[in-house]
Symmetry: C2
Subunit: 246 residues, 2 copies
């Protein structure tokens, strides 16, 4: 058994680059056993599996396994307490042509990686058919998003795309576009009715949905807040509206 | 006008200690204009107001103002981009005897500061009468909690207390204790009925509510999740159940 013990090993140096978005073109890193097992269940393609020697029995028979020391493993994550395994996984190829009528969550320029991850996890819990995220939405392959997403991107497709065009396609298939807004120039989300299909749009943390999305939406909905808080966290708002719609 | 330019100034050194929980006995630090204005609206007692010279007009006529340089201001926060003001605020004195029948959120050992802040913000948005947090729940006066709370602790009382005794008191006043559980040995939250008052208990991120709380609760409720995610983020779950109850 060969163990990489040096941080300046070429494979480690090359892999470490994947922690930065600009180097993530075709693959990304996942950390920890939970995500690794979710990736396995989803038949994800692994390019490299970096693991501590003590866990050799858990990766027996797998290809692309490389043993590393704890110090080297730490190089490949921003987690302070890595769990013994880090894997390089191929990004899925998701043709937008696959987009069918169904139930979707749409993120328009959501900035915070933790929010984005939690929202995709919420869409997964709600049993949606997929998530559409705008180009300006936080990257789903950064470590913070991956941690809060808890493997949900292995359960449902997440398309990064022009959400206006994608929503237009859904609308042409008869799926109503429901956009949440901070204004009161809209209906109470509890009164929104649909025939089983919908695309729910959540906007940016500070600015809400764009003017373009406001115009494109079939229904504008808001959450009545009887208290003094000016707004809800966007992931919490997503849960409230989504679990009312399903 | 005197400006503190040195990080080793005694007042700065003493104030900086308040970033650590063990030194926060009677007061804590808030950062940024939004929180400062919320504190003012709530008639909070200020012990010190540290501000950059360029904002002197915004604190004109106020007591306890100390001008500092940007470098000194940075010493008093873990924020990478402080907004020009940091204030030392006295913690409120909230006698538990004030606890009356009403609508409450109860946090039993919620660990993550971001979750705790978001949950209190959600309780505020829902117009609840207060929040009860267990001794093991994350401190509400740490900077991360304060950021996600967005000033909601100035809108409603947050008691750190023995939540079992406090809930017992509420129950004796006729308030039903509704505890959410990850198990299915409970009712769908959508079917929970009440007469206008309730105490909703949310448990620890990993373990859910304790056995003690399970026994003490009048109603156990769960969220049906049609998808593949094993659980929801605890703050999202709070929003879903709370906005269904109100």
């Amino acid at each position: 058994m060969t163990i990489i013990t040096s941080k300046s090993n070429n494979l480690i140096k090359k892999t470490k680059k994947l922690l930065k978005k600009k180097y993530r073109e075709h693959s990304y890193l996942i950390e920890g056993w939970h995500l690794f097992e979710e990736a396995q269940k989803a038949d994800a393609e692994f390019l490299n599996i970096f693991v501590l020697e003590e866990f050799s029995d858990r990766v027996e028979g797998l290809s692309h396994v490389t043993y590393v020391t704890p110090e080297v493993l730490k190089e490949l994550t921003d987690s302070k307490t890595p769990q013994g395994i880090i894997a390089e996984v191929v990004m899925p190829n998701l043709p937008l042509a696959d987009l069918k009528a169904g139930r979707y969550l749409v993120l328009e320029d959501v900035q915070d990686p933790g929010n984005v991850g939690t929202m995709i996890r919420t869409a997964d819990a709600a049993g949606l058919d997929g998530v559409l995220i705008s180009e300006k939405t936080a990257d789903i392959y950064n470590q913070k998003t991956l941690r809060s997403m808890q493997g949900s991107h292995f359960h449902l497709p997440v398309w990064r795309t022009n959400v206006y065009e994608a929503c237009q396609k859904l609308q042409s298939l008869g799926v109503p576009l429901v956009a949440t807004t901070l204004s009161k120039d809209s209906v109470d989300y509890k009164t929104v009715e649909h025939k089983g299909e919908f695309a729910l749009v959540m906007g940016n943390e500070g600015n809400g949905i764009s003017e373009q999305m406001t115009k494109q939406a079939d229904i504008l909905a808001h959450i009545i807040m009887p208290g003094q808080a000016e707004s809800l966290n966007v992931a919490v708002a997503t849960g409230i509206v989504l679990f009312s719609l399903i």
